[in-house]
């Protein structure tokens, strides 16, 4: 083995200051637990997308209905079932009309592109199946003896123009002529309200119930958990339905029904956490130092059980939102004219054949919201337990 000789000064002791080896004691830096959780959560893209969506939804739910010129209950039967987008027909240069081929009505198109008024026909020929309007001295005839109906202007078949936005009602109107956009935002309010109620019930009832059971333990715990077991045997949906039968429909009843039933999972999670934590040394230490039970519960145990509680909460929110819309869909939830995504969907089902687009907005709204909460929940769970992340 030949190699150049080693210079004598190389055999001198290594000075840590001039060396590039670094301090061995602090070679691996450790971050705080929550800092790590936050970092991992922020890097979880679906979770962040979900969070942004939820924040936007909350803003829309709070401020949207205030800024809309319409209310969720204001009906206008003349302007019912209007589409969000349409293809206008040109009658004269400054007069455009929209034809609803399902109810065979003509609507006036405003300068801004909104569908603003129903045009009543000047003549209805039921036998030959055609309606006639006189607009700006031109004769507009809608012949519905065949499908699809044909519009003629001064005897010539008219062609529909390019796709236009309905500026008056960007999401269109429902079968009672109510603005779909404002009703959607109102639906978001209801969903979030129900979510908030479920969260509150979970926190107050679930955490205390589970905490007390886990902390006292023994016979009390056994009895309390037996009760939870009995409640948990039957699906929550069934309980909520039964509660609704007793309480009669309405938003308050939905909130009450969900609130009284949706704490069971949380109680189990908290109890499990407490039992695990209770066996740990620092709780024994607190006890030896004379800390009271409630102090142990709130100062020591719950902060440590916070992670699993948070994950359970984010999992429960979508299920509470779902159950409200489910109840409203089968007619046991909020009462008309209040709008929930469930009632909006079931109303859309009634008009599904003629106006399938009405299904689009509530279906997308509830699906995206559920997706957003699920993504946030998944991200949170992965962030809290890095071992599980894939």
């Amino acid at each position: 083995m030949t190699r150049p000789p080693i210079a004598p000064e190389m055999w001198l002791p290594l000075d840590p200051q001039t060396g590039q080896l670094g301090d061995p004691i602090v070679s691996t830096a450790t971050r705080g637990f929550w800092a790590g959780v936050r970092g991992r959560l922020f890097r979880h893209r679906p979770a962040m997308a979900g969070l942004v969506f939820i924040v936007l939804l909350i803003f829309a739910a709070i401020f949207g209905p205030m800024m809309s010129p319409y209310s969720y209950f204001e009906q206008n039967l003349e302007l019912s079932n209007l589409p969000p987008t349409y293809r206008p027909y040109t009658v004269t240069d400054n007069t455009l009309v929209h034809v609803n081929t399902s109810n065979l009505n003509l609507y006036e198109v405003s300068e801004k592109g909104g569908l603003t008024a129903l045009l009543r026909p000047d003549d209805r020929d039921m036998i030959n199946r055609q309606s006639t309007w006189v607009i700006d001295d031109r004769e507009v005839v809608l012949d519905y003896s065949q499908r699809p109906a044909v519009l003629t202007i001064d005897g010539k078949v008219a062609q529909a123009g390019g796709l236009a936005m309905n500026n008056r009602n960007p999401f269109g109107t429902d079968q009672l002529g109510r603005d779909v956009l404002v009703r959607q935002m109102y639906g978001a309010r209801i969903s979030l309200l129900v979510a908030a109620a479920a969260v509150l019930a979970n926190f107050v009832i679930g955490v205390i119930y589970g905490g007390v059971a886990g902390l006292i333990g023994g016979r009390v715990d056994a009895v309390m958990m037996r009760f939870v077991e009995i409640v948990a045997t039957i699906p929550l949906t069934l309980y909520v339905i039964l509660m609704m039968v007793v309480l009669q429909s309405g938003l308050l009843s939905v909130v009450l029904a969900i609130g009284t039933v949706y704490w069971v999972d949380m109680a189990r999670v908290v109890r499990g956490q407490i039992l695990t934590l209770k066996s740990q040394d620092y709780v024994a230490a607190a006890r030896t130092m004379g800390a009271s039970t409630s102090r142990i519960l709130f100062q020591h145990l719950l902060p440590n059980a916070f992670g699993p509680i948070l994950v359970t909460l984010t999992m429960l929110i979508p299920s509470a939102i779902f159950i409200e819309s489910f109840m409203s869909f089968i007619g046991l939830g909020v009462t008309p004219p209040q709008a929930s995504w469930g009632t909006l969907t079931s109303e859309a089902v009634e008009t599904l054949r003629a106006y399938p687009h009405q299904l689009f907005f509530p279906a997308v709204a509830i699906s995206l919201t559920m997706l957003a909460f699920n993504f946030l929940g998944d991200g949170l769970r992965d962030a809290l337990d890095p071992r599980l992340s894939s």
């Binding site: 190389m10 060396g19 080896l21």
Partner: protein
């Protein structure tokens, strides 16, 4: 000396993780003689387990071997396909893992778990395999073997489970047994029994054993020869007696000083200061230099492996990766007491 049963040259293994590539093994050479017990010792993260598992390419997700040769039976194991390797694993080379709690399939009777290996590698009937399994149970001294064979792992104690693992590893009379921290999860008395069993089985069956451990006590009791690993490299290699009598590397000396000595009760232990290097960015020179009480400027240059031919202070067969063993080093440096 006859030809070694296994010889490993310049093995390098990396693990890709979310937070960077960990250089777990950085050029390890290893020769294993027939029938010898070779101890691999080091702290966690030193690369001792990864070295063993690389031989059979049994790496966890993200791990891959970047270079090296593992000559066994006239072939390079590292060049074999996954399919070809199945003929070596369990048949020529058996493995015993650290934690017998989790290394056995909890939903399968231990008998099936042994019979499974036999049926895989031997052309024998299920009945014959079962008889052989009972024999193996008796070999590893599991009482009432014939009935215990239909039990599930959770119905055994930790020590018994490890005996089951050894029985599985020995089922096909392997040439080599890799025992990866086989006693770490067990309590001390059980540990001694298992080590004694391993030694006895080596004497009876003549296979070579690679014994991975972090415990020099286990090495002293069981191994013939020992390699001290640190930072993915071999720091020192010697016959067990030589290593304990005349350790060369400051790391080895540090490890030895950290062993409690009952004859000097009351004397405080002197643990090795600091923690192992981050193997995503290993130190540029000697990996131990940042913690070494005798680090020199030269230590920022990677030291080569020195052996007795260059340094008469080293015993025959002893090798050390430390500049202090360099023939040109000033004499007083080597003599510096630790």
């Amino acid at each position: 000396m006859t030809a070694p049963v296994l010889s490993l040259r310049d093995l390098r293994t990396e693990y890709r993780t979310d937070r960077g590539t960990v250089q777990a093994v950085r050029g390890i050479d290893l020769t294993l003689q027939r029938g010898e017990i070779l101890g691999l010792v080091g702290e966690s993260g030193s690369g001792k387990s990864v070295t063993c598992m690389s031989i059979l390419k049994l790496l966890k997700r993200g791990g891959h071997i970047t270079s090296g040769v593992a000559e066994f039976d006239g072939r390079d194991l590292l060049q074999l396909s996954e399919r070809q390797l199945t003929a070596v694993r369990g048949e020529k080379i058996g493995v015993v893992f650290q934690d017998p709690m989790s290394a056995l399939n909890p939903t399968m009777t231990v008998g099936r778990q042994i019979v499974e290996v036999l049926l895989q590698h031997r052309k024998i009937s299920r009945k014959a395999a079962r008889d052989r399994a009972v024999e193996l149970f008796e070999l590893v001294r599991i009482p009432s073997a014939r009935t215990r064979i239909d039990s599930y792992p959770h119905e055994f104690s930790g020590g018994m489970r490890q005996r089951v693992m050894i029985a599985i590893a020995l089922a096909c009379d392997p040439d080599i047994l890799i025992a990866d921290e086989p006693t770490t999860a067990l309590d001390v008395t059980i540990q001694r029994q298992i080590l004694a069993l391993l030694k006895e089985l080596r004497d009876r069956l003549g296979m070579a054993i690679i014994l991975v451990t972090h415990d020099l006590g286990v090495i002293a009791e069981t191994a013939d020869r020992v390699m001290v690993l640190y930072g993915g490299q071999v720091m020192e290699e010697a016959l067990v007696a030589d290593l304990f009598a005349a350790p060369c590397h400051p790391y080895t000396r540090g490890l030895l000083a950290a062993i409690p000595d009952p004859r000097q009760a009351g004397r405080p232990l002197s643990p090795v200061r600091g923690s192992p290097p981050d193997m995503r960015t290993p130190p540029p020179g000697c990996p131990f230099a940042p913690r070494c009480p005798q680090a020199m400027r030269i230590c920022e240059t990677p030291p080569p492996m020195f052996d007795a031919t260059g340094n008469p202070a080293l015993q025959a067969g002893q090798r050390a990766r430390c500049w202090r063993a360099d023939a040109t080093a000033p004499a007083q440096i080597f003599e510096t007491p630790s």
